[in-house]
């Protein structure tokens, strides 16, 4: 089992909210534990997940009818100031109380396991992101860089 070429997983992470931050990091860290070679290509809002400071990741109940809320909350109420922060706070409390890892923890696990994190250079330019805002353990590249790895991967997912 230990012999032969390892399987490969290629992910595209395109979303930057607290809830959508989970799938790429859970799948990548788990695949790495299963001896996969893993690359994640972060594009558009996904770039947010590479920032040094992840504390401003938020989840919004607005336009998200499947999000469980303690009381039914009409859209008109959800747009009120502070609702997003409240939903985010509630989500973070739930995450901690259920023994679910934080995004910081999962991202560190990925880096420790050798998962390659690639930031979309075009998005960095488009949104005028500063490279100093991002963690050091990343590379910058474009679509062709993604395909170099994805073309040889066993599993490719767009998240």
């Amino acid at each position: 089992m230990a012999t032969g070429r390892p399987k490969k997983l290629a992910l595209i992470a395109s979303k930057g909210s607290l809830d959508w931050a989970y799938p790429p990091f859970i799948l990548a860290s788990t695949a790495a534990a299963l001896d996969y070679d893993v690359q994640i290509f972060f594009t558009f809002y996904g770039l947010t997940l590479l920032k040094k400071d992840l504390s401003d990741l938020k989840v919004s109940p607005f336009g998200n009818p499947a999000m469980p809320m303690p009381v039914p909350m009409p859209n008109l109420v959800q747009v009120l100031p502070g609702m997003e922060s409240m939903a985010t706070m509630m989500m973070k409390q739930k995450i901690a109380s259920k023994g679910v890892a934080s995004i910081e923890e999962l991202r560190s696990a990925c880096i420790e396991a050798g998962v390659k994190l690639i930031a979309c250079q075009m998005t960095v330019d488009l949104f005028d992101f500063k490279k100093t805002d991002f963690i050091d353990d990343i590379e910058y590249g474009g679509a062709a860089t993604f395909f170099e790895f994805a073309g040889e991967s066993n599993v490719n997912l767009f998240i």
């Binding site: 089992m1 230990a2 259920k98 023994g99 679910v100």
Partner: protein, 77 residues
């Protein structure tokens, strides 16, 4: 059941027990046994799948009041 290293992954949710297990296995020698405890109800299937895919051997699984205890023998390199 004898073991060489023990890890507590209780009250942790997916995928943390598997990540802890992987780390624990990296700290023992081939042929040695890791004992790891978890309470995530999904862990039974996940640990079986982990062992099947990585070649480590799941020697024994105990379930006592929701506390799952896995004994995993590290594969030869």
């Amino acid at each position: 059941m004898e073991f060489d290293k023990e890890l507590d992954a209780k009250n942790l949710n997916c995928p943390l027990p598997i990540l802890r297990c992987k780390k624990g296995l990296s700290e023992i020698e081939a042929g040695q046994t890791l004992k790891i405890m978890a309470t995530d109800p999904g862990a039974t299937k996940d640990f079986q799948a982990f062992c099947k895919q990585t070649g480590h051997e799941l020697l024994q699984l105990d379930d006592a009041d929701g506390v799952l205890t896995f004994y995993i023998k590290k594969r030869a390199d």
